[in-house]
């Protein structure tokens, strides 16, 4: 992994960073690279409330805010920004205003690497809208001055259309931090983590690969 000056991670939901990116975040931080995580919403519309329920529609954002802080702490993120948008509404925000917010982060932090979702390949409308806004902001920078833009893609057509991921980070060295970050998003991950124990015990290869290898597609600029 290349040594970065500053990494800017931009996602719409608390927990978007956990599965595919938290190992890369932790590795960068262990390398002494500052990481800023800008999280657009608090996942207010998350569906999992438990049965028997542990939350209500109204208490869920408060719980997820704390989980986000806990996950950031687990990874050593010093700079966590919450933008205060609302879950499921990112695509309806004014495009120019949203682009401006991201441009302001880039101007302030001068990152050498930005990580977000790949537009067209990230399933949830908030993911798509976030990826599009980041692409718009970075596109405005002259090509030779642009930070690298690494995208997460997981739609069913991503391999067929984007090809194999160009970047695969082995995050085995920070596996514990990654698992701690995933577990920190308890309201979202508890039932999934409960199914892990057996697979971890048997060192299930698919499971280990899923945790240890983080995959990114550099954004393909048209110009």
């Amino acid at each position: 992994m290349e040594k970065e000056r500053h990494v800017l991670v931009i996602f719409p939901h608390p927990d978007d960073e956990a599965f595919g990116v938290s190992g890369t975040i932790a590795l960068n931080i262990e390398n002494g690279t500052p990481v800023t995580y800008a999280c657009l919403t608090l996942g207010e519309m998350g569906r999992n409330l438990g049965n028997p329920p542990f939350a209500t529609r109204e208490s869920l954002p408060k719980i997820r805010r704390q989980e986000l802080v806990d996950a950031a702490n687990a990874l050593g993120i010093q700079d966590l920004r919450m933008l205060g948008l609302r879950d499921k509404t990112v695509e309806f925000e004014d495009d120019e205003e949203l682009t401006g917010k991201i441009s302001a982060f880039i101007d302030e932090l001068n990152p050498s690497l930005i990580i977000t979702f790949y537009p067209g390949y990230s399933v949830h409308p908030d993911h798509e809208a976030t990826g599009r806004a980041v692409v718009r902001a970075v596109e405005r920078i002259a090509p030779e001055e642009r930070p690298k833009l690494h995208c997460v893609a997981f739609s069913n057509n991503s391999l067929a259309e984007l090809g194999e991921p160009e970047i695969i980070n082995d995050v085995t060295a920070v596996e514990d931090k990654k698992i701690a970050a995933i577990k920190a998003h308890r309201s979202q991950t508890e039932s999934m983590v409960a199914t892990w124990a057996e697979k971890m015990q048997s060192q299930d290869p698919a499971m280990l690969t899923w945790i240890r290898k983080e995959r990114f597609w550099p954004y393909k600029w048209k110009r």
């Binding site: 569906r47 409330l49 049965n51 329920p53 209500t56 529609r57 109204e58 399933v123 908030d126 039932s191």
Partner: protein
Amino acid sequence: MKAIDRAEVQQKINSFAEADVYLHLETTNGAYATHNDESFFSAGAYIRNALIRYEHGKIVGDGPFRVGLKLEIGWVYGEGLTHFEIDDQGRLLLAGLDFTGKLAVALQISPSPFE
């Protein structure tokens, strides 16, 4: 939230009748439904902080429950409701949770706007 107590919910619904109240109404099957099963047709809707006034309202059924609020010139309706809470701000939070604990429907009434 706990399992719906019909009498308690009915009493709370009655207390909001003929007053300006704020409504949060939502149905959802999740943004990943079609990703996980391409034959699944995904649909959902929500409205937050609709200012309404109802003449009367009822909770009906044996569980899951249905709620209808009769407006002067219309209706509010929700079905599949299983759980409720009257929170510290005096709001009535009704939710329908599926067998795995995922929200399928929410119908919430508040005397002040939801944040």
